[in-house]
Symmetry: none
Subunit: 222 residues, 2 copies
DNA sequence: TGACCCATGTCAGCGACATGTCAGGCCCTC
DNA sequence: GAGGGCCTGACATGTCGCTGACATGGGTCA
C-alpha cells in the first residue's frame, strides 16, 4: 500500500491527478488548503507528496520548508504554473525532490513520482527506536521493552515529534505547535500535563527536561 | 489456445487492440455490437473479455450484469473513456475483474489481461484470509469458519479495503473515501454504523478500533 | 399499481476515554 | 530562601465511537 498526499487547490487538476494516481494503484488523499496540507504532511505518513505552489492560506514553498525544518523527509514533487528557473531553484533549495511544470502529461507525473518514491525507499523506515522505546508507525503503536503501550492521539503525536528530533532540545512552543497544530493559543500547562502522562505510560526515563529550554530525548541510549 | 473476446465499437481502437492481442498469441474475436457481444459471451467460452463501456444498442455494464446474473464467470476487463470513481465502483460491483481508463498503453492492457486470466485459472490469489474470516474476491463471498455470510455491497467494500490493508491502521477518513468514494461529505456517523453491522454479521472479533486513529485488522491471526 | 424487502442513512443516548483546567507541591537557580 | 519553572493528582468537560430504533428510497414481485 502506498499512500500519496496531493496538495492542489484547482479542483479540476486535483481530480485529474487523483484519478490517475488512484488508477496507478496509490491510495490518494487530496487537500487544497495549505494549513491542512502542512499538518497532514507533518503528522501522517505518506510515500510521497505532490505539492502545488501557489495555494491559498499558506504558500507551497513555505509548507515545504516547514516540513524540512522539522525533519520530515517525505519525498516531495512540486507542481508549478510558471517554469521560471529561479522558482525551480527555490523549490529544489527548499528540499523538493523533483519538479514539474504545468501543464504536464499525466504519464510524466507518474514516472517522476515512481522515481522519487523508489529513490527514497532506501531511507524510510516506519520504526523509530530510542532506548527501550519503539514506535511502529504502521500500527500507531508504542512499545517499551517489547510490551505494547497505548497512547492517545495527542500523546502519540508528541512522542513521535520528540523522537524524530532526538538529540536536540525541543522548546515547549515548538512542541506545542507540532502537537496541537499551528496558531493554537497556549497559555495553559496542558503540554506539561501531556508530557507527564506520556512519561507515566512509558514507565521508563526517556524524555528529559531542560529547565528553561524545553524537552530532550538523548540520541543514543544504551 | 487462448480465446479472447474484444467488445469495442471504435474501429480504430478495436483494430489496435486486436493486433496487439493477436501478436501476444491470443485468438481474438472482435465485436462492436452490444447484443452480439452479450450473446457470444453467454454462449462461447473465452479466457477473458475486454469490454468497452458506452456501446450502441446495449450498455457495457448491462451486458456484464447479465452475464454475471446468469453465472458466467469469464474474467472481464472494462475499458472506459471517463475514469470517474463512481463508474469504476459500478464496474467492479457489476463483477468486472479489472478496469482500464482510456487512453491506455497497450502494455498495460496486456499485463492486466494476463493478470485476470491467471487469477481466474483457479489460483487462490483472489482469496483473502484473516483469522476466521475468508473473502473470495472473485465470487464476492465472505465466510466465517467456512460458513457463508451475506454482506451488502457497502459492507463488502469496507471489509475488503480493511483486509487489503491489514496490518496497518486505516483512518476513518481514508476508509470513508474508499468505501463511499472521494469528495463525499462526511459529517455523519454512517461509517461507524457500517462498521457495527459488519462486525455483527461476522460475529467474530476482527476489526479493532484504535480510538482517535482509525480501524485495524491484525496482520497475523493465529 | 401497490405491498413488501433490503440497503443505507439519520438520530439520540450512553459509556468510555481523552484532554483541559486548576491548585498545590517540588526543586532548581539565583 | 524566594521565586519561577515544572510536575502531579483531582476534577470537569468534551469528544469519540457503539448501538438500537426509525426513516427513506429504490427495487421486486404479484
Amino acid at each position: 500500500m502506498t499512500r500519496v498526499l496531493v496538495v492542489e487547490d484547482d479542483p479540476r487538476i486535483a481530480a485529474d491527478v487523483q484519478r490517475a494516481l488512484a488508477h496507478a494503484g496509490y491510495v490518494v488523499e487530496v487537500t487544497g488548503d495549505g494549513e491542512n496540507a502542512w499538518f497532514r504532511g507533518d503528522t501522517e505518513d505518506y510515500a510521497a507528496i505532490v505539492l502545488d505552489l501557489g495555494l491559498p492560506r499558506m504558500d507551497g514553498l513555505a509548507i515545504l520548508k516547514r516540513w524540512r525544518s522539522s525533519d520530515r523527509r517525505t519525498p516531495v514533487l512540486i507542481l508549478t504554473a510558471r517554469g521560471s528557473w529561479a522558482e525551480r531553484v527555490d523549490g529544489i533549495d527548499a528540499g523538493a525532490d523533483d519538479y514539474l511544470v504545468k501543464p504536464f502529461r499525466m504519464e510524466e507525473l507518474l514516472a517522476r513520482l515512481r522515481a522519487i518514491i523508489r529513490r527514497s525507499a532506501g531511507h524510510a523506515s516506519s520504526m523509530i527506536t530510542a532506548g527501550e522505546v519503539t514506535v511502529d508507525e504502521r500500527h500507531k503503536q508504542v512499545s517499551v521493552r517489547g510490551v505494547p503501550v497505548t497512547l492517545s492521539p495527542l500523546e502519540y503525536r508528541l512522542l513521535v515529534y520528540l523522537l524524530l528530533h532526538r538529540g536536540r532540545v525541543v522548546s515547549q512552543q515548538e512542541l506545542a505547535e507540532h502537537t496541537y497544530g499551528p496558531d493554537e493559543d497556549h497559555d495553559s500547562n496542558a503540554l506539561e500535563v501531556l508530557i507527564g502522562r506520556v512519561r507515566r505510560k512509558l514507565g521508563t526515563p526517556l524524555i528529559e527536561t531542560r529547565r528553561g529550554f524545553g524537552y530532550f530525548i538523548p540520541e543514543r541510549t544504551a
